[in-house]
Chain length 83, copies 2
């Protein structure tokens, strides 16, 4: 069966996000001035073949831990759904 894992990887709250700061001032220059914080991370969508939702979740977890996220600076979350 086909599953899609939607993975979001964000920099930890404690860590400075210079890209977010740049976007914040960019938005302010465009006239959107009521923004208090911007944080920028990655979104990854994995399409996979798996026999069950549990297996698909295991794959997504492993992909995050072993390759996609740097756990020292980032945290991850994911949602697995049927394609």
């Amino acid at each position: 069966m086909k599953y899609i894992a939607e993975i979001t990887i964000m920099p930890l709250k404690e860590i400075l996000d210079p890209q977010g700061k740049a976007v914040k001032s960019g938005l302010s220059n465009l006239g959107i001035k009521n923004i208090s914080e911007v944080r920028i991370g990655k979104h990854i969508s994995l399409e996979m073949e798996a026999s069950s939702k549990e297996e698909a979740e295991k794959n997504a977890e492993m992909a995050c831990k072993k390759l996609l996220a740097n756990l020292i600076m980032e945290n991850y979350s994911y949602v697995v759904k049927e394609a």
Copy 2:
């Protein structure tokens, strides 16, 4: 009132995603071989002060259109919720 807009920006389906291809082969090298497609985009969380959910959504929409997304190559979606 405080709102958070969670914005996801992904490359269009029709467009090649070389970063996704690289991650796919990386996952395969790690033993996760049942992945059929990987696409990589951005996730942006905007924290803002707004008088209503509608106003917050308008801000998120404007931020996507004017600064965050390149509409020729990417599409965007967002969810606004109370902080």
